[in-house]
């Protein structure tokens, strides 16, 4: 096992003309982790994966996979990765089994090891016994075959570009379960705009906005650091008037009314909120039932980080 991170990008920039698709991205993905690469459509996720796989070259900066510089390593990197593009393309005249055999053979698999791997992956993809040519597959079947072919070499780094986007709810659940089962054995780096998928299986996440990484941390750490910026207040009565007054204060970035007398306040300055909210409650002459730090979901973190520019 290499001590180097599974993926390390340093100042990674990709420009198309005068448009920056990726802007000085620094990113570290530890080996064995499941890493979510989260961003809205057009944020630069696919560009990042094209650079990691060597399909495109950076304008500046470097990207290393398992310690190898992708720009110079050639097949050494490709032998260790599995890749599913956002829209996988197949030879329509092949069956799923033929494609998996072809993919496995490209990695040097032969004989019984190839047979066993293909049998296992067809089962995993739910394509055992399917003799239809790939040209007749539904998008979901193609996506499942795409995941299977990405696993054919038992890769140390599995790169998935929007892997759940074409799947029905059951297929999505199965794929996320499969990704979760790889934890600790394979590094999984998957891009998505579906927050629930990341929250469900990932250990760590990077949030990409207009080509820039605006946050990167283990999920719990990210939620905790942003959760500390949410305060939940519950008063005995007069909650609507209090919420309106809190909302007018400069450190309150968002105010929501909860059940009964609860008010959820997203704050930019926790210290001021902790001092001023009790004073406001007292000024309104209502009872303070509770006041505590709230918990932010990943969706709220995401919206807070990337929502400002939209």
């Amino acid at each position: 096992m290499s001590a180097a991170p599974a993926i390390q990008a340093t100042g990674l920039t990709k420009a198309y003309g005068d448009k920056l698709a990726l802007d000085a991205v620094d990113l570290t993905v530890e080996e064995g982790s499941i890493f979510g690469f989260l961003g809205a459509n057009g944020a630069g996720k696919t560009t990042m994966l094209r650079l990691v796989t060597g399909l495109a070259r950076p304008t500046s900066g470097t990207v290393h996979v398992l310690g190898h510089d992708v720009a110079t390593a050639g097949t050494a990197v490709r032998a260790e990765i599995g890749f599913l593009p956002d829209v996988p393309g197949y030879y329509d005249w092949m069956t799923a089994e033929e494609f998996l055999r072809f993919a496995g053979a490209l990695f040097g698999l032969r004989g019984s090891s190839l047979d066993d791997r293909v049998t296992m992956l067809l089962d995993l993809a739910g394509l055992t016994g399917v003799t239809t040519k790939v040209g007749g597959f539904s998008r979901g079947m193609k996506q499942r075959l795409g995941v299977a072919q990405a696993l054919v070499n038992a890769p140390r780094v599995l790169l998935l570009d929007e892997p759940t986007s074409a799947l029905d709810p059951m297929g999505r659940k199965d794929l996320l379960d499969m990704i979760a089962s790889l934890r600790g054995r394979t590094t999984v780096f998957f891009s998505t705009h579906i927050l629930g998928d990341v929250e469900r299986v990932c250990d760590a996440v990077a949030i990409l906005d207009h080509g820039r990484v605006v946050a990167q941390a283990p999920i719990e750490e990210l939620k905790a650091s942003y959760g500390a910026r949410k305060v939940v207040v519950e008063v005995t009565d007069g909650a609507d008037a209090l919420a309106e007054q809190i909302g007018a204060l400069p450190w309150a970035t968002a105010v929501e009314r909860g059940h009964n007398g609860a008010i959820e306040v997203t704050v930019s300055d926790v210290g001021r909120a902790q001092h001023e909210i009790p004073a406001l409650v007292a000024a309104h002459q209502v009872g303070l039932a509770r006041m505590e730090a709230g918990e932010m979901g990943l969706e709220e973190v995401f919206v807070e980080l990337v929502g400002g520019g939209r």
């Binding site: 097949t75 890749f83 593009p85 072919q149």
Partner: protein, 253 residues
Amino acid sequence: MSGYAVFAGKEVREILRTWRLWVLPGILLFFAVTGPPMARYTPEIIDAYAGAELGGLTLPDPTYLDAYAQWAQNLSQVALFALIIIYGGLVSAERRSGTAVLVLTKPVSRSAFIVVKTVVNAAFVSVLLLVGTLVTWGMTAAMFPTAPGSALWASSLVWLVLAVQFIALMTLLSVVIGSAAGAAGAGLGVYVLASIASIWEPLATYSPVGLATQASALATGASASPLWPVVTSLALSLGLVGLAAVVFRRAEL
């Protein structure tokens, strides 16, 4: 090396299991079967339908060389046009469909991708030419009292060099031009320019543009000196494939 063999196997199966198995083979087989009878009976057909209008002009008796000349002409025109059109998407079709991405993120180099495609398809055309020439030879032997094969085989071999050169050219064009139709148009443009250039004798004698003329001359039993066009064409083919590999390695997929 195994990546080369596996990808070459895919190319062969793709030829055998898609439309590629039928189009060029169908064209060559059609010309191989119909050429010799056409050469044998064309004078009689003309005489039967337009004898009176020819005013007593007597057409010479056809010989096996007429059948060979017909074969060489068909190869240098229709078959070459078909080849150019068919191979216009040799690389770009894989880029557009996304199959190149899946292959090239596995341990297959981009140079191998280009070289294998060129070599396998050149081998395919060689087999087609071998079969087509054999059929032409057999049909000619059936139509004429004698049909010595040396002129036919020499002509076909020279055309094979020309075909390989155009496969190499189409490989490069399909790397550079994303549209199969665009690459085919450029390939046809090169064909036209080469045909015009072959009018200038020094070029026809010492460069690849003289190949078609040499192939025709050999088929008709005329004196020919194909050495320089063949050698320069083979060198050009290697250069074109090498350039295609270099351009493809630098391309973004």
